[in-house]
Amino acid sequence: MENPEETKKTLPRWAVVTAFVVLLGFLGILGWGLKNAQQGPVKVGQPVPVFNLTTFDGQVVSTSDLKGKVIVVNFWASWCKPCEQEAAELEEAWQSYRESDQVYFFGVDYVDTETQAKKYIEKFNITYPNGPDLRTSISQLFRITGVPETYVIDKNGNLANAKIGPYESLAEIKQMIDPLISE
């Protein structure tokens, strides 16, 4: 919109600068968003920030208390059919490591209802700590793209490997964990 009375007046410099700054600022934000959208899940080898899980039985488990252990973080949901494929194997794996006290399992229940989640845990006899992903903060930390996804953190707190989709077998799970214990 222009001012007809002052048609000969040149466009003030501040207006030009503001126009470009606003535009570039917006493009910057857009570019940042695009970069975030495209970066995918966390990178292997990077340190994983500390997070807490409030389990269904009301305990709070923090990764900061688990230094020096291998941590397996499994994202699941009761409405997720593929999750059921790996549920029994995950429990079996947990049972096999439990004694050694070298490996800790986290089951993070991604946007689910508590009633259904508890039924699911009962159905597959899951004994490792499970809890809801409150305010989806843990899943955002890992930038998961869906369920099931499993992340293994090594003894130094760095991400060692990630599995998108269900595990095919117990051996596959062990393959991801075993090398980390002996480190």
């Binding site: 222009e2 007809p4 000969k8 470009f20 493009l27 968003g33 959208a37 495209q38």
Partner: protein
Amino acid sequence: MLTNLGFGSLVITFALSLYGIFAAIYGERKNLYRFVESARWAMLLTFPMITLVTLCIIGLLVTQHYEVQYVYNVTSQSMPLYLKITALWGGQSGSLVFWAWLMSAFASAVTLRKWNRDRDFLPWVIVVCLVTLAFFLSMIILFENPFQRFWSTSGGQQIVAMFQPAGSQLIIPADGRGLNPLLRHPGMVIHPPMLYLGFVSFVIPFAFGIAALITGRKDDRWIRLTRRWTLVAWMFLSIGLVLGSRWAYDVLGWGGYWAWDPVENAAFMPWLTGTAFLHSVMIQEKRGLFKRWNMILVILTYSLVIFGTFLTRSGVLSSVHAFAQSAIGPMFFAFIGITFLVSLALLIKRWNDLNSEGQMNSLLSRESLFLVNNLLFMGVLAVVFWGTVFPLISELFTGQKVTVSAPFYERSTGPLFAGLLLLMGIAPLSAWGHSTWKTLGKAMWKPGLLSLLVLIAMVISGIRSFGALLGLWLTSFVIFVTLYEFWRGMIARHRRSGENYFTALIRLAARNRRRYGGYVIHLSIVLMAIGIIGIESFQTQTQAKLIPGESLQLAGYTVTYESLAEFDVQDGRNVARAVLNVSKNGKNLGELYPRRDYFYDSQQPMTIPGVRSTIEDDLYVILVNWEEISTNGATFKVFHNPLVNWLWFGGILLIFGSFIAAWPDPEKGLQLESITKSRQSAVSSSISAD
């Protein structure tokens, strides 16, 4: 064979458009007209070339070449032929090709016109069109090649590549994955082409605007040349939006037509700036004002078109409409940035040349009201734009995902839309240059009084919602004003020429198509507004679990559950279909069949409502849930959507009005030419005086 032919043509077209860009610039710089002419031929040639590419893809789709990744992704054997053809725009790469094809069709059509008097525009129009086209072609060639095939390497790995890797074998899957079931709807078949047509044809006014900026011509020639293009673009975009709403209403099964989804908003935003542009160019044509503002609007519209395409295809915002995440995001981002910055820089460079030729004289003149109209459209744009990008920004800065949905948009845009309706009633009555309250009041009091009577009738009939009363009162005001305008014109003509009333009306509209076509479009918008107000203010719903024989009541209708059947259909669906009987006041109105389709190949369910549609209201039934054994209950959700059909009627009328307004008129065309000629000489003489 077809794959190589298609890909080859694609690459040649790309080279051709690059050549055209350079030839046009070179010819313009060196004043060698034959180079510009050659660039024009290059642009013309892109159309048959991309047509060939498109035909290759369609050939592959129809002949079921599942070794081609694109064909595998969007078709399956069970799909009917028409869906196999329209699967061309059912996936990312195919729809990009389709976009490019439409783009080259429009660009070629533009170059075919006579350029005698606008020769200085030609090279730059070619450059803008071809840069846009070349960008899309490069996206297709580099990132979204529709001709890639599946290969199995000697190592047993499966890869996707254009050319046969050494020692590999072609993999030919027996069947494809099939088109997304949501897209297997007649509305969805025409909706994307309409939207793309709208998007693409807005490139033309932009190209002329940029050409005017570069050449430094400050008259309104570029606006006059592109008036029809703009109108046609606007019409296609409107049709696309209405069809999209209709599709959502028919297929998505949630009782509504518009969800303020990011992708819907992305198509709505260029419509807003386009509508503002359509109005404000008239001020420049009639009064020589707002030259800069029109440039800003056309640049904004083009940028929003590209931005919308970017939002849909880059995965930066998630939405039900979004294409899968893709590598083209960053390229699109760069393209938006560059085109916007360059256009802005050009505009600033020419800012002082684009001064107004006249002044505004009156607060109530038509140009002032148009200015307010533009302000309101920009207000709606600000709300929609900010609401669409805010979730993205919020996630970046706070790490929290948020939803911005219908209540936000409805609350913020409602008053603005009400203001627009009011202007729609006043502006046609005000004169260019100067109007006073007195002249306006004289023209307005009759329709105003009639609309007040309607308001009183509505209050008496028991409507108490403030929004609905205000909205319906405004719509009735606009209808009366518009019809009154037709009436006055008809009477005037009848008196002068003695023609009978009907002939007078037809001739009147024919002699001034733009004006009366515009009025018809206004009427169509008002009809849509009635539909929208109806469903927004008066929608009621109920849900209940029924066993056969039981019924539920809503808004005077009785819906009785009769039976339910579950069966497989040939085209790979499992269908659960309920039979319901509808009656009102004891009168049997027939049966409704809400159903749930489950697509085996894509494992996706779809809820198809059973709808009974009348002018007054829609009864819209969704099958929510049912027990496996049909003797048991099923849950139904029933919506009563008053007046919603007016929305679709309005859409049809809009097409009609646009045709009236845009239809070429040789006689009038000549008159306009003579006017612009005189104006042009005025301008050129003033330039030479400088």
